[in-house]
Symmetry: C2
């Protein structure tokens, strides 16, 4: 699918041009980084979802160190774009925890975290999604793949962005034909109980703050130090996670 | 080693009785939960470290949503105990990011997070430690095993506490003879690049806030929801991470 085709099909869902821009920029970045499961193929997936193009996120509580957004069913991509822009426009003096309720789908979390780091902020971002990971002992799915993205800016230019899903494959991989639903298990093989525990911890952390529907928690802060150049030097040319492709 | 022997040996290091109590309570809890690498055997390990029993952590910056402690080389166990007690005595209205610089060793992070959850707070806690994990492609160690502990209180009694180190084994396992230094690699086998990315992300996140020496970042918040009972019901008796042993 081309960007132009994506634009016209997203517009046909009732989205405004500025909203379409946000989605296409995210999808094209995902494709460029090889995360095709979160790329333009999601346009077709969105056509099968119940979308309310008129839904708008509301900032229901706002303080220096805490913000709570209710996405009201607006597309998670749009809500995260709004949170990123609002945070860059009014960054915390020190640190802020930002919670978004009823916020789905959120796409590549590293994409949003990277934008915050490009603006000079440190960001840790997690989000819940449909329960797909079962207990290593079996049974029903108990937790989403619940990625954790961390982005840290650097004086030497590019931020380091890590973005790890707790699934051996992601639902996006399944959509992209690069993994099967049977592989939707916690990553780690014999030690998959560790990725399962991370998924459960993040699931409950987000749930305790954002409520029973899918939600987002972002921790954003001003860095006091610049640890990236020393790590890059130590890595001696080895590719660090999230290095630009 | 018995608790009594541990007490007398810790006192011989110059620690005060109240400090000894903090350490022994942590070590005995670790042993009780099977984390013997962080248990009483650490007394002997501490005897080989350069300890300043007179060092005291200083709260250098304090706000509703952000706190920064400089541990000044005080034992990390003691600093985290002080942070936990201070946080329970004056919890955030909503959320707070607590940073501790020069804070090592910190022991079982789930122990501190659990105490916050026992007091009704949601906690996510991470800490850096000596670099022991190399890039999956090889080379020098780039990141500590950098555990992430998450504790969420529950209306049905026991909190859920997850506590995951990014190493296939921990340095504590090596000390306890339950793992070899060669196994100090990111967990996950073929997907160890994921645990490595988590370790690097947490390393830089803590480094950006706490500085170049080992540090701690705690995100603590008041829960708005109680997601644990529904998860327990869904798990239908399967043991959730961190269930009391």
């Amino acid at each position: 699918m081309t960007g132009a085709e994506a634009r016209s099909r997203l517009a046909a869902l009732g989205l405004e041009p500025a909203q379409v821009d946000v989605l296409v920029a995210h999808f094209e970045d995902a494709d460029r980084r090889g995360k095709t499961g979160h790329g333009l193929l999601r346009v077709e997936w969105l056509e099968g979802q119940a979308i309310d193009p008129l839904a708008r996120a509301v900032l229901v509580e706002s303080g220096e160190g805490y913000e709570h957004w209710d996405a009201h069913g607006a597309l998670g991509y749009l809500v995260l774009d709004e949170i990123v822009r609002a945070t860059l426009a009014d960054p915390p003096e020190r640190a802020r925890v930002v919670v978004a309720s009823r916020c789905f789908p959120t796409g590549v979390l590293g994409y949003w975290a990277r934008r915050l780091a490009d603006g000079g902020l440190v960001a840790a971002l997690t989000a819940t999604s449909p329960r797909r990971l079962a207990h290593p002992d079996g049974g029903p799915a108990l937790a989403g793949t619940n990625p954790l993205a961390i982005a840290v800016p650097s004086g030497d230019g590019e931020p380091v962005v890590t973005d790890v899903s707790m699934g051996a494959v992601t639902h996006g991989d399944v959509l992209a034909g690069r993994g099967s639903a049977e592989e939707l298990v916690p990553f780690g093989g014999e030690q998959s109980y560790k990725a399962f525990a991370l998924a459960v911890g993040l699931e409950l952390f987000v749930g305790a703050l954002a409520g029973p529907e899918h939600g987002v928690v972002l921790v954003v802060a001003r860095p006091d130090h610049d640890p990236v150049p020393a790590l890059r030097e130590l890595a001696a040319g080895r590719r660090l996670p999230g290095a630009d492709v």
